[in-house]
């Protein structure tokens, strides 16, 4: 029976397309047992996630030395097996900074400090849900907010400008100015000075 925090992490990852990996599992004929192991699918098919319960976990999860030793062993086994799997360790519960750093040399480490979740592993409110997601954000899909104006091609700044300029404006002038805008404001001023200057001739004068 896992702690609610581990359950919560598992639930969230499962929603994101991760599958539970049955434990214990073997890599290069070595058997590994962890509180929880999960693996991504499709684009994340090479992601292997190990969850360590630093507060109440079994398999020596509460002892940082043992945790490190076991993770290093797994890493070495994956190397030996010439595996492309990328290992991510999620530390659920408090952990010492030094331990995290030491562990980081071996694999990617994410820390989920205690977050208010109920016994079934459901975050108690939106804030708690977001806290949980932030901690394991790297493992979750990147959601790009949909555009307000559908999927149409968004006009560039210059296109918007062309559309926004009133119709009665001299088109040649606008074109000349826009061409010069690429070279900076002084070029624009020069262009406008030259353009307007060319219209300032007085008939009958030389």
């Amino acid at each position: 029976m896992n702690s609610p925090l581990v359950v919560a992490i598992g639930n969230r990852l499962r929603t994101a397309g991760y599958d539970d990996v049955a434990t214990p599992f073997r890599v290069a004929s070595v058997s590994f047992d962890f509180t929880k192991a999960m693996r991504g699918s499709e684009g994340r098919g090479l992601d292997l996630v190990i969850v360590v319960d630093t507060t109440t976990g079994s398999f020596g999860d509460t002892d940082s030395t043992q945790v490190r030793r076991r993770i290093e062993a797994l890493s070495r086994a994956l190397d030996v097996a010439r595996s492309s799997l990328v290992l991510t360790v999620v530390l659920a519960g408090a952990a010492l900074a030094g331990d995290i750093e030491a562990l980081s040399e071996t694999c990617r480490v994410l820390i989920v400090e205690p977050i208010s979740v109920d016994l079934d592993g459901n975050p108690q409110d939106d804030k708690a849900r977001r806290q949980l997601e932030d901690r394991i954000r790297l493992l979750l899909p990147l959601e790009i907010p949909p555009r307000d104006d559908g999927q149409g091609n968004e006009p560039t700044a210059i296109e918007s400008l062309v559309a926004g300029v009133p119709d009665d404006v001299n088109k040649d002038f606008l074109k000349a100015l826009m061409a010069s805008s690429r070279l900076g404001d002084e070029a624009v001023t020069q262009e406008l000075a030259a353009f307007i200057g060319s219209r300032l001739y007085v008939e009958g004068d030389e």
Binding site: A22, G43, L138, I158, S160, P166, S181, V188, L192
Partner: protein
């Protein structure tokens, strides 16, 4: 056209790449490795050059960057990129020659801009990103603002806005645009000229109106009916004027003649003196005879008497008038007589008084001597002794003397006290006497002195006997002359009367003789004058005064009429001349003004054309403002901040503060972005300061990188490429691991073709592992660049395919 994937690149002699290299790019991830200087950045820049025909990052640093593009030892080069699209493979190529870049086919501007802004993160841009966080400034010129502007494509808008700014203020317009001031000044110069001319014309018009009024009055007075509109069209004959002038000159002469006649007349009275002239002549003879008779009988006596009087009173000039002479002589002689009598009598009185005073002085001196004798007899101390005795008498009891103690009784002269009392009394009466004598003596003395003074005065005034006799003789003579004058008085009076009558008779005669001749002459003159004037008939039985009056009235009337006529004609001519002059001046002004006006119109037209462009420029600027603020609002909404936050939290899950843009609330003029750091869990409630103040160097790099990616992701994808040039220079291991995971997410979940160059070998190896193909369709190409000074650049490409993962087995 939809661009799917970069397929390959060929580069020759571009920047640090010497010779030709070819690199396949057709994989979901392309990992480039090379030592510093091996040509990583050149390879990535070559992609930009091929696709867009320019290298923005270099151009920002050096406008003449094109001179630097060709490899130093080469004469020509090129960059060519092939891209797969829906329609097949497209090739983009830019040729390089010495100092010259010749783009062939390039991406459309819009797509090229997307590439420059959102697909390619060159190191310089990342360096700029890092600088941003160190610079706290938040104004529109801050590096952050410049960076975000350029990423949002606002730099061109900013350039437009800033470049058009001078249009807002006409002073700057003048400064910036050649010729504007010249035209304005010319226009401004012409305006007062035109106005002055108009003013001058207006005052001329007023003058013409006034002169026409005067002219109308004048020609009406001359008896001509004026043209109501243009009264100056009238002919006033010069011959008329000459006639009038001659007539007036004639009149003036006649009046002058009349005036001189009148002067002659002024002395004359109108009694006809010729009748009395002989009478007067007889009278004059008679009076002369009477005078002569008087002189025979009284002449000698009269002159004798006058001589006597003048001897007596020598210094007076007496009147020749006999009566006056007599009265004056009598008055003076009476005064002379009184004075002599007074002098004689005063001399006699003085002589008598002197004798009396001398007698009185003798008596007074005798009296004084008597008083002095008595005074010397009386002891002078009798008063004090009597007082002492009176005092001592109270000590006398019997006959013994209190002083000498002798017994007075021995003398037998009675009692001592009686003796003393008697002595006291006698002494005291002597004292009284002494006082009385003193007073008398001083009185006597004073009267002696008075007498002596009076004697002195009288003696000095004493007149001697001879003088007194002379006075008496003169007095007698005066009395004689008086008497003679009195006796001769009536004779003198009648003589005087005779003299006066004679003189008057002669004068009357002379006057009458003169006047009768002149009056005749005057009348003749008047008749002559009247004849010369046509309306006047010579008067008969009329006095010459009345006749002259009549002539003068007629002449004056005619003169006045002519004067008015001449004046009116002169006024009319003067007015006509003035009007003509004014009209010709007005015509001149009109031609000058029309010249000025034409010049003004031409300048105004030029200025109007320029003004129209200026207002177009301002409209463009307004549109720039509007577009920019709409872009800012669009981009800086929660979407961008949310994406950025998501990406940042992925890479730095341990960081409590996350960077974010403070979204501009109002529509802003120019982008003035502010960065701040809301708390990861608590949001704005526990927001921190700027990222530079809140984040470590590694996290700053992360913030910059994630911002670029967030901007790339926050717009619809036009080019699904992310090209990153060595973006992890100051990341620590943790970040690198997370960054690799993020790249994987972008590549595998969001189908971005990721191309990343790194110089660190270990990192390269690590990324190669992390970015290994995860599924059958997945792909990775690694490119290893190396270079030596002796040979051409080399690029070794390795394609890594998908391999089924079998390491993990259920136990």
């Amino acid at each position: 056209m939809k661009y799917a994937q970069l397929c390959s690149i060929d580069v020759a002699n571009f920047r640090s790449i010497r010779g030709h290299i070819h690199a396949p790019l057709d994989a979901k991830v392309v990992l480039v490795h090379g030592e510093n200087g091996a040509g990583k950045t050149s390879l990535l820049s070559a992609i930009e050059l091929a696709l867009t025909g320019r290298v923005d990052a270099l151009r920002r640093a050096d406008p003449d960057y094109q001179l630097q593009l060709l490899h130093k030892r080469a004469l020509s080069g090129y960059a060519e990129v092939s891209v797969s699209t829906e329609e097949g493979i497209e090739r983009f190529r830019t040729e390089l020659a010495e100092g010259k870049v010749s783009p062939g086919r390039v991406l459309d501007d819009e797509i090229a801009e997307f590439f420059g802004e959102r697909a390619y993160l060159p190191q310089s841009l990342l360096g700029q990103l890092l600088q941003i966080y160190q610079d706290a400034g938040s104004d529109s010129a801050s590096p952050l603002a410049r960076f975000v502007s350029s990423l949002l494509g606002l730099d061109r808008l900013d350039a437009l806005e800033a470049g058009l700014k001078p249009l807002a203020d006409v002073r700057n317009v003048r400064k910036v645009i050649d010729g504007w001031s010249t035209v304005e000044i010319e226009k401004g110069r012409l305006e007062p000229l035109i106005k002055d001319q108009w003013d001058a014309r207006k005052s001329l018009e007023h003058g013409v109106l006034a002169k026409r009024g005067e002219l109308r009055v004048a020609i009406e007075a001359l008896g001509i009916v004026p043209n109501p509109e243009i009264p100056e069209q009238v002919s006033i004959l010069a011959t008329d004027r000459e006639e009038d002038d001659a007539a007036l000159a004639r009149l003036t002469d006649q009046l002058r003649v009349l005036a001189s006649i009148r002067r002659d007349m002024a002395d004359q009275s109108d009694s006809d003196a010729s009748m009395v002239e002989s009478e007067l002549s007889d009278g004059a003879e008679r009076s002369t005879a009477a005078l002569r008779a008087w002189q025979e009988s009284y002449g000698d006596r009269s002159s004798d008497l006058r001589a006597r009087v003048e001897t007596l009173i020598p210094h007076v000039a007496f009147s020749p008038d006999l009566n006056l002479f007599r009265a004056e002589a009598l008055r003076l002689l009476a005064g002379e007589l009184a004075q002599s009598a007074d002098k004689a009598s005063r001399g006699r009185v003085d002589a008598r008084q002197l004798a009396e005073a001398q007698d009185q002085l003798v008596v007074a001196n005798e009296q004084l001597m008597t008083i002095d004798r008595e005074l010397s007899a009386i002891a002078s101390n009798s008063g004090s002794l009597s007082a002492a005795l009176a005092e001592i008498s109270s000590f006398i009891i019997d006959d013994v003397c209190p002083v000498c103690d002798r017994n007075y009784a021995e003398l037998d002269h009675g009692a001592l006290s009686d003796h003393v009392h008697a002595k006291t009394r006698s002494l005291s009466s002597s004292a009284d006497r002494l006082i009385a004598l003193g007073r008398s003596r001083s009185d006597q003395q004073a009267s002696i002195e008075r007498l002596q003074q009076s004697i002195g005065g009288l003696a000095s005034r004493q007149i001697d006997e001879e003088s007194l006799a002379a006075i008496d003789r003169r007095t007698t003579e005066v009395v004689d002359v008086q008497r003679a004058l009195d006796a001769l008085g009536p004779a003198l009076e009648s003589g005087q009367r005779l003299i006066e009558a004679d003189v008057a008779a002669r004068q009357r005669l002379t006057k009458t003789q003169q006047s009768s001749g002149r009056r005749l002459a005057i009348r003749g003159n008047l008749n002559e004058l009247a004849n010369s004037i046509s309306q006047i008939l010579p008067g008969e039985g009329e006095t010459i005064e009345a006749f002259a009056d009549r002539i003068e009235l007629a002449l004056t009337k005619e003169r006045d009429r002519l004067t008015v006529r001449i004046r009116n004609r002169a006024a009319a001519l003067e007015a006509i001349t003035a009007i003509r002059t004014a009209k010709s001046q007005m015509e001149q002004i009109d031609s000058v003004v029309s010249g000025y006006q034409a010049a003004w119109d031409r300048n105004e037209a030029a200025l109007q054309r320029a003004q129209a462009l200026r207002s177009d420029g301002l409209k463009i600027r307004d549109a720039v403002d509007a577009v920019r603020s709409s872009i800012i609002r669009r981009e800086f909404n929660d979407r961008l901040n949310r994406l950025w936050r998501d990406l940042f939290v992925r890479l730095a899950p341990g960081e409590e503060f996350v960077p974010a843009f403070r979204i501009p609330e109002a529509s802003t003029q120019r982008l003035q972005p502010k960065l701040y750091t809301p708390h990861r869990d608590l949001g704005d409630d526990v927001a921190g300061g700027t990222p530079g103040a809140m984040l470590s160097a590694g996290n700053l790099n992360t913030a910059a990188l994630t911002l670029f990616i967030a901007l790339h992701l926050s717009v619809p994808v036009q080019l699904p490429w992310l090209i990153l040039d060595d973006p992890v220079q100051s990341m620590d291991d943790i970040h690198i691991a997370h960054f690799a995971a993020l790249l994987r997410t972008l590549s595998k979940e969001h189908s971005r073709q990721v191309m990343i160059a790194v110089h660190d070998r270990q990192l390269f190896e690590y990324l190669r592992l992390e970015l290994s193909p995860a599924f059958s369709d997945d792909s990775l190409i690694t490119l290893e660049l190396n270079r030596s000074s002796r040979r051409d650049s080399q690029c070794i490409a390795t394609r890594h395919g998908f391999r089924e993962e079998t390491a993990l087995r259920v136990a």
